[in-house]
């Protein structure tokens, strides 16, 4: 019996290989292509924020915040049926038109009519098969990044977008152009900068990057060597390397004007199965960018341990998120032995004058370890790295009990949500590390995964097989997709599989 199975398997294997060779991939369907036709721009409708698709036995149309003018009249026509509504003052709308099963099968398009300011726009929309369309968002050709990529920012050179990615284990900094389709994980224009082990053989482990305000240089935290490098990304040159006195293991960092703030986790000893990791007090160091170098100014001791990210809120203020100290002693769960916190930091504005200080602290306790947070509409949105929750909390809150936690359905036992990013239509996108998907939070309604993103956005096909690739960071390209460029607009960085997957939301949104 096993022999027969072998033969069948053999046949399948070679058939698969031949099929792959003979049929390399895409057909003429624009939804399957990397580049797509431009959208027609019109003041009455931002098509990239609008979707029409099936929802059970109905056709639904939804415009996210800003999709149409305030109070515009919206009508959805499907065959002979129609339904209409008035948009909100934020330019949102939702229409549902019940249809029969037979109509759903036969009808491919719907008309969406927008009337406002004495103008009318009628657009023919495809009725999306939502599940299929969502699966087409992640593009088939990812970029290979090098081992253990940790962070992602997008820089621009003459309007061309480039991804900057530090690969920690590989000791590399990659610069990928994002306006070309990768082939076999590669792009010829990719540039790689190497960070070598130092004279004591300590590895560099480049961890996080921050783009300066000129947009041509990045500061890179070298976690293993306790240093910060300033790199000219387009000349591929390390301009200078600096360290802060008595501060070890830098992680997150961000520029505020000419100030660079760097969070030092101050790791003393790695954890073992017998005891948790030992950290000193968290430190925040301030550097000033002076030409081609960074000058260390001061170091602030923080009232929390293991600061991991330096964040900027929507007012341009500095925040630090402390992840707390992880314990792996319990095989069934990961917990914290020291509490996590958000800290608002006062940053001196003028060179050399004033001191860093903690202005406000939100105590997050030992059940919630925040990843990289997003600041939207006077709300902090952060995923839990050690549990199934998304936290929404006011920046003025004092502790986690004043916030609201949205529980997330997860098939997996040990969920982690390490990154939250504000996106189009007043949506926040949050990476679900263990399920290889994006969660979508509508900040207008505070509903997690609103239609058409009912189960979030699936990013890979392997998550359901207990093998996940671990999306850890997101970045969005400047400009309007379909209008300013015809290529993927969002990019998800995968920590475990070491790849950058372009995401094209126009596979589900738009006409």
């Amino acid at each position: 019996m096993s022999g027969l199975r072998n033969i069948l398997n053999l046949t399948m294997l070679f058939t698969g290989i031949l099929f792959q060779t003979a049929c390399p991939g895409d057909n003429d369907d624009p939804d399957l292509s990397y580049f797509y036709p431009p959208l027609k721009e019109h003041p009455l409708c931002r098509h990239e924020l609008t979707v029409v698709g099936q929802d059970g036995h109905a056709v639904k149309a939804r415009g996210f915040t800003g999709s149409v003018p305030a109070n515009a009249h919206i009508k959805l026509q499907v065959h002979t049926k129609e339904v209409q509504t008035i948009a909100t003052k934020n330019g949102r709308f939702e229409l549902t038109l019940p249809v029969t099963q037979a109509e759903l099968k036969s009808i491919q398009t719907a008309n969406l009519i927008v009337a406002a300011e004495k103008k009318i726009l009628e657009t023919k929309y495809r009725i999306r098969r939502i599940d299929d369309s969502l699966r087409q968002i992640p593009q088939k050709n990812p970029l290979n990044t090098g081992s253990v990529p940790n962070d992602l920012v997008i820089a621009y050179q003459q309007e061309r977008p480039f991804a900057i990615i530090p690969a920690s284990l590989a000791g590399e900094l990659h610069v990928f152009p994002l306006d070309k389709e990768p082939k076999n994980g590669l792009l010829l224009e990719t540039k790689t900068l190497h960070f070598f082990p130092d004279e004591t053989n300590a590895p560099a482990n480049p961890f996080s990057v921050a783009l300066d305000h000129a947009g041509k240089r990045v500061a890179v935290s070298l976690h293993g060597q306790h240093q910060i490098a300033l790199v000219d990304i387009f000349k591929q040159k390390i301009l200078s390397v600096t360290k802060a006195e008595n501060a070890k293991h830098p992680q997150g960092l961000a520029f505020f004007g000419s100030n660079l703030l760097v969070a030092f986790t101050n790791l003393i000893e790695s954890g073992t199965r017998h005891k948790p990791a030992q950290f000193g007090p968290g430190l925040l160091a301030r550097f000033v960018q002076v030409g081609d170098r960074l000058q260390w100014m001061e170091t602030l001791q923080l009232p929390c341990q293991n600061p991991t990210h330096v964040l900027t809120d929507d007012q341009g203020q500095a925040w630090v998120s402390c992840a707390g100290v992880f314990s792996f002693l319990d095989i069934e769960k990961i917990s914290l032995t020291h509490p996590a916190a958000f800290l608002k930091i006062h940053v001196p504005e003028i060179y050399g004058i004033g001191k860093l200080k903690v202005e406000h602290m939100i105590d997050l306790g030992i059940q919630f370890s925040p990843g990289s947070a997003a600041f939207v509409q006077d709300t902090i949105v952060a995923g839990n790295s050690i549990g199934p929750g998304i936290l929404l909390i006011s920046p003025q809150a004092k502790n986690i009990h004043e916030g609201r936690i949205l529980l997330v359905d997860s098939e997996k036992k040990y969920p982690s949500f390490p990154y939250a990013m504000p996106g189009f239509g007043n949506l926040v996108f949050i990476t679900d590390f263990q399920n290889d998907r994006l969660l979508v939070l509508d900040m207008e309604t505070q509903i997690l995964n609103p239609w058409p993103f009912k189960q979030g956005v699936p990013l890979t096909k392997t998550a359901h097989l207990n093998i996940f690739k671990g999306p850890i960071a997101l970045a969005q390209r400047k400009g309007r997709p379909g209008i300013d460029f015809q290529a993927p607009e969002m990019f998800a960085l995968f920590n475990l599989s070491a790849e950058l997957i372009p995401l094209s939301f126009l596979k589900v949104m738009g006409p």
Binding site: S2, G3, R5, N6, N9, L10, M12, L13, I17, P142, N144, T145, G146, S147, S168, L169, A170, G171, E172, G185, H194, F195, F196, P197, T200, N201, A202, P203, A204, N205, G224, E269, T272, R273, H274, F326, F328, L329, D330, I331, I334, S385, K413, Y414, S416, P418, F433, Q434, T462, L465, N466, I467, F468, K469, G470, N495, L496, S497, A498, E499
Partner: protein, 608 residues
């Protein structure tokens, strides 16, 4: 780097040697680090001599991929046809050398320096899922002693002594010990560009020192039809864990010590043999950070195995035989209550039919029962046809099942966890092969295989912070292996192998990591083996995937080595080797572990 240059080189040289060989007779090659054909013993009259590293011997076998952790004497993992880890069975004169906790074997532990015969059976059916490697000691006809001492680059040193004697006609003993050491520091290039342009950017590999010792003692006794033996084997290894090329570890060290012993008793009549054996083993393993004594991680465990086998000839005139074996095993972690018990039964039958062509048929079936893994069946059907003395054809179908190892099931909290929900994995393999053996002149063997590993156990992330093993949907494996050996003159020989390997992990649709799609070893000898001679060896490995997602790769490499033998007197010889002649500084083995550049090694051998 393309595989084509090596393939073409092998092909052209093969043609050249085949042409040169026409009409000439020679003796079989005595190259000590070559084996002529898989599944056929490496025949040597003297204990073999590996020149620089033990792994030189294994590299000659097709289907084998060796992954070393950088530098001499570092732990070496062996893959057979793409399958690694706990899937290989290793047997040293009946003693099982596989770690009973994690199922692994460090190839640098094996006493190649004293073994007489080496046999590799690929595929399931003979014990392991990927194959079985068997080593045997020389039979003692008279007393002998061999000592070797060697020194080389990277402050590498090696000393060994092998002695055997027969007390009287009933008792004999074999004793062997070997100590090896290396400072292990070497320079390597962080990228291929730096190696050619700026030597000041070379990186020194540190925390790579290794110290090893193995010792063994075997005492055999014969009393009429009764034979008995006691065999003790001990190993100690302590060394740095140097980490990956660009993320080196300068502080982490590890040690592994074990002692194991086996007692065997066999009663033999004209057509029946009853054998009983008992093995016990004690292990201690530690990892710690340099200068930080309180960060030690320790584990100790004991295991024992008992086996009873009955074998005999059931139709003597046709050389038909059978072997029936029963076995029991018990393993326990000494610092916890975790333990494992198991038992097994195995029947093997061999039939030979002399007409019209000599056809050998081999059938085997059996099972193992383990208290925490259930029943694990295995089976083998093997047909072997020899239509004429030079030609041989075979078909082999085999199936085996492996229980998850102790670590895979029970590893406690930490970065690497066990998974108590793991199920056994099964491997099916079909192989066809053909061989043309002109005995003393030319040997050509071609084999093709297809295998499927069902429920294959591999490590993936359990959470963002931990990894654990899971049963995947399976792995397709297919390959083509070629072995060629040409002996046109007594002073000239060429041996080589080429292997093509295609693997696919179904869950990710990507190849298995660290399994090269193409690899080849080619060895060329000039000079008679009894006189001054030189061997040149080329070892090529194509680019390999580095992770399960196919996004990281290790580049291809080609390394060239040379070995010289200079007999000094009848009982003394000098050996000299140069590894990586062209000082390739950016060759990487698995997981980006850098390999050393050019190294030298000299060894003096004295025999009684």
């Amino acid at each position: 780097m393309s595989a084509w240059p090596t393939m073409k080189m092998v092909f052209i040289l093969s043609l050249f040697f085949a042409f040169a060989a026409q009409g000439k007779k020679s003796v079989p090659d005595e190259n000590p680090f070559l084996t002529r054909v898989k599944r056929v013993r490496v025949k040597k009259e003297e204990p073999p001599l590996s020149i620089a590293q033990h792994i030189d011997i294994l590299q000659q076998l097709p289907g084998i991929t060796l992954n070393q952790q950088g530098g001499p004497l570092t732990p070496v993992d062996v893959k057979i046809r793409g399958l690694s880890g706990a899937r290989l069975s290793v047997d040293l004169e009946g003693i099982n050398l596989v770690d009973p906790i994690n199922g692994l074997i460090d190839i640098n532990d094996l006493p190649f320096f004293v073994s007489h015969n080496m046999q590799l059976a690929s595929g399931p059916g003979d014990g392991g899922l990927s194959g079985k490697l068997s080593l045997q000691f020389p039979s003692l006809k008279k007393s002998f002693a061999i000592s070797r001492i060697g020194f080389g680059s990277l402050k590498t040193g090696r000393a060994e002594l092998i002695a055997g004697d027969r007390f009287d006609k009933n008792y004999d003993f074999l004793f062997a010990t070997q100590g090896t050491t290396t400072a292990g520091n070497f320079l390597f290039s962080p990228t291929s560009i730096v190696a050619d342009t700026d030597s000041s950017l070379l990186i020194e590999r540190i925390n790579n020192d290794q110290n090893r010792w193995v010792g063994l003692l075997k005492i055999s006794e014969r009393l009429g039809n009764l034979k008995g033996s006691t065999f003790l084997f001990a190993k100690m290894h302590e060394g740095g864990i140097a980490g990956m090329a660009m993320s080196p570890l300068y502080y982490l060290r590890g040690s592994h010590k074990y002692v194991t012993g086996i007692q065997k008793a066999a009663y033999t009549t004209d057509n029946l043999k009853i054998e009983m054996q008992w093995q016990a083993r004690l292990d201690a393993r530690e990892t710690w950070q340099k200068n930080m004594p309180f960060t030690r991680s320790e584990a100790a465990f004991a295991s024992t195995q008992v086996a009873l086998s009955v074998s005999g000839l059931y139709a003597k005139n046709l050389s038909n035989s059978f072997t029936l074996s029963a076995s029991g095993e018990f393993t326990r972690l000494l610092d916890s209550l975790t333990q494992r018990k198991g038992a097994g039964l195995q029947l093997k039958v061999q039939n030979q039919i002399p007409f019209p062509f000599p056809l050998t048929m081999e059938f085997a079936a059996g099972f193992r029962i383990i208290n925490d893994a259930g029943i694990m069946p295995n089976g083998l059907v093997h047909f072997h046809l020899k239509p004429c003395p030079a030609w041989m054809f075979g078909l082999r179908l085999a199936e085996g099942t492996r229980a998850p190892t102790f670590s895979e099931l029970y590893a406690p909290s930490g970065l690497v966890l066990g998974n108590p929900d793991l199920k056994p994995e099964s491997s099916y393999e079909t192989e066809i092969y053909g061989q043309w053996d002109q005995h003393t002149l030319l040997l050509l063997k071609l084999s093709a295989f297809y295998g499927f590993l069902s429920g294959g156990i591999f490590y993936f992330n359990r959470s963002a912070f931990e990894i654990f093993p899971i049963n995947t949907k399976g792995v397709h494996r297919a390959g083509l292996e070629t072995q060629i050996a040409v002996y046109p003159q007594k002073w000239l020989a060429l041996e080589g192998n080429l292997q093509l390997n295609a693997t696919q992990l179904i869950s990710t649709q990507k190849p298995l990591p660290n399994v090269p799609g193409f690899s080849s070893t080619l060895t060329f000898r000039l000079g008679e083996t009894e006189k001054i001679c030189v061997w040149l060896k080329a070892n090529y490995r194509s680019s390999t995937a580095n992770n399960f997602f196919g996004t990281l790769t290790t580049p291809a490499y080609l390394l060239l080595d040379a070995f010289f033998k200079i007999p000094l007197r009848t009982n003394a010889s000098l050996h000299f080797s140069v590894s990586n002649i062209f000082n390739n500084l950016d060759a990487r083995d698995s997981n980006q572990f850098p390999l050393p550049g050019r190294t030298f090694f000299a060894l003096l051998e004295l025999t009684s």
